[in-house]
């Protein structure tokens, strides 16, 4: 190794930084098991006398977290599936087929890649209102998919461009259509790109706040981040509920990440670089 390996000194030096950066999580998890009186003592360095699992039960029921998680899952699956179904063919067409207007479309998608969604929010709401999609999960799915389309298309396109044209020619001689070439030849060898698209669209959907805030008005249709914010402001002074509700909101994604750490890392890095 040309860079000298100082494993343990570096690891040791990084440990305080790690504790500091993870302190918000540790503090919330510990506090979420305390009684209201223990929280009132305002001492972050003590453990709860008994683990108050009841806090979680109460928060789960009062906050309606079952519905929030359910809505978030429907939202996520809808966006991931629709993103793949729309972006893969479009990315293929932009990468591999010459057609009039391709350059024009390319710039149209770049425009959407650059303009922040906050900057189009008023007409966006009006369009949804006109289509009767305000306050529906279908509405939020369509808006989020559309918002992610430029990124998804460029991600798929940049991967497909690297696939040799010979493969297409060979498949064409065998009588395959472009659609068959996409599904039978391109997609099977594009796992990294598909994985990146799935992970990035899933994570950004699960965590989205701005669009749900605009579209999902009544509590029954709200997703997890939006529901937590509503819950935390309603029960602002009931700390044990807010703490445990907050832990409920971040725990699933963190556990999932720990299980699939490598895929997340690859997907996010690749996606950020290529999108």
């Amino acid at each position: 190794m040309s860079v000298r390996n100082r494993e343990w000194p570096v690891a040791l030096a990084l440990t305080p930084a790690l504790i500091l950066i993870l302190a918000p999580f540790l503090w919330l998890v510990v506090s979420s098991f305390k009684t209201e009186a223990e929280i009132g003592r305002a001492d972050p360095f003590t453990w709860p006398a008994d683990l108050m699992w009841r806090n979680y039960l109460d928060a789960w029921q009062i906050g309606g977290f079952a519905d929030l998680v359910g809505n978030s899952l429907i939202n996520l699956v809808g966006v991931v599936v629709l993103s793949l179904v729309t972006c893969a063919p479009a990315g293929y067409a932009l990468a591999k087929i010459r057609f009039p207007g391709r350059e024009w479309l390319f710039y149209a998608f770049i425009l959407g890649l650059t303009v922040p969604v906050q900057a189009i929010v008023i007409p966006l709401y009006q369009v949804l209102f006109g289509l009767n999609l305000v306050n529906t999960l279908a509405g939020i799915v369509l808006v989020q998919v559309s918002n992610g389309i430029p990124f998804g298309i460029f991600l798929m396109r940049s991967f497909f461009i690297g696939v040799p044209d010979d493969l297409i020619e060979a498949a064409k001689i065998d009588g395959a259509s472009h659609f068959q070439i996409l599904t039978k030849v391109f997609l099977p060898i594009s796992t990294p790109a598909v994985q990146a698209l799935v992970i990035i669209s899933a994570l950004s959907t699960w965590n989205d706040f701005f669009l749900p805030l605009i579209v999902l008005i009544s509590p029954e249709v709200q997703t997890l981040p939006l529901g937590l914010v509503r819950f935390a402001s309603t029960y602002a002074s009931d700390y044990r509920l807010v703490f445990s509700g907050t832990v409920i909101s971040f725990l699933p994604i963190i556990l999932l990440y720990i299980l699939m750490q490598r895929r997340f890392t690859e997907g996010l890095t690749q996606g950020a670089i290529k999108g």
Binding site: I97, I110, P116, V242
Partner: protein
């Protein structure tokens, strides 16, 4: 967010030469050999192309392109809310925006906000990447652990940090008091001079993980023989950092800075959740003011002007950084 290679022109800055199946290692520095967009098997395939594009294009036209155009239109019209008819007012809304002190405040805060974010989140990402990438056995552990905050929704981050900053029961003030630094307790979110910085810490805490990953990927792409050569020349660790590592990270740094600026520009959730722009508009950003104008005071004309301003800022940042990157990779 890298602008991909333009058709017919070789710009292709960071976009890697995409490799076939199985390749996942970041290859920042490698330029795309095929800068020209798309290759071209295709005669008489225009119809097929149309059908392949159609689903994406339909959604995109309705929910993105139409709203972009409508935002322009709104900015030239007077409108008092969602259910009222609009009338053409020329540049009145623009004049109104220029005279609105909150617009100028929001703009100044937005610039300050993205500067904080670039320095704190980008800087922390770089420092941690430099340290973590020296590890072998524990690298995966540290990389994953430092990345955890990035998985949390910014809205949830807002709730977490609003509690951390709670003046009486929050982690910040209670921990300071307990370790004998009670003099440093603050009204983190109520002090007008401090609030923007406090909220930005929450956002940067959530943001640095991705930048760290990108820097780590960049570090892995630095040619190891350069370090060997530097060692032969008798360079010490510091000299290697200055003359090999940092120059080797130039491209990824421009990328991270542009990404951090764009993310900063879009900052909304933490401010909305933690302070809603207050106290006294001291944490109001362009985005939170747009939301207020659009959905609370329903001044759509003024909001539309700010939307256009926000878009222009995003476009300007993207263009400048893509030019810069293109120049670097030449």
């Amino acid at each position: 967010m890298v602008i991909p290679e333009t058709p017919g022109k070789v710009v292709a800055p960071l976009s890697t030469a995409p490799a076939v199946a199985g390749h996942t290692g970041g290859t920042f520095a490698r330029m795309s050999k095929r800068g020209v967009a798309g290759s071209g098997s295709s005669d008489g395939d225009a119809g097929t192309a149309f059908w392949l594009m159609a689903p994406a294009l339909a959604l995109y036209a309705v929910f993105t392109l139409l709203p972009i155009a409508a935002t322009f239109w709104l900015s030239f019209n007077g409108s008092a809310g969602f259910n009222t008819s609009a009338s053409f007012v020329g540049f009145d809304n623009y004049a109104k925006a220029a005279q609105d002190p909150i617009v100028w405040k929001g703009l100044a805060h937005t610039f300050l906000w993205l500067a904080y974010h670039v320095v704190m989140a980008g800087g922390l990402g770089l420092l941690l990447a430099l340290a973590v990438s020296r590890l072998r056995i524990t690298q995966v552990f540290f990389r994953a652990a430092f990345f955890l905050p990035h998985l949390v929704s910014l809205a949830v981050v807002g709730v977490i940090w609003a509690n951390i900053y709670d003046p009486f029961f929050g982690l910040m003030n209670t921990a300071l008091t307990r370790i004998g630094l009670g003099a440093f307790t603050q009204g983190w979110l109520s002090d007008p001079a401090l609030v923007l910085f406090s909220v930005n810490i929450a956002s940067s805490w959530q943001g640095f993980g991705l930048y760290m990953l990108l820097f780590i990927a960049g570090l892995q792409n630095i040619d190891h023989s350069l370090y060997d050569a530097a060692e032969v020349d008798g360079a010490n660790a510091f000299q290697k950092l200055i003359y090999v590592t940092l120059p080797g990270l130039r491209e990824v740094t421009t990328f991270v800075v542009s990404l951090a600026m764009i993310n900063g520009l879009k900052g909304f959730a933490t401010v909305f959740v933690m302070t809603n722009g207050g106290p006294f508009y001291q944490s109001e950003l362009i985005t939170t003011y747009i939301y207020r104008l659009a959905f609370q005071s329903q001044d759509h004309g003024l909001a539309a002007v700010l939307c256009i301003l926000l878009s222009l800022l995003a476009i300007a940042i993207t263009i400048v950084f893509n030019r810069w990157r293109a120049r670097l990779s030449q």
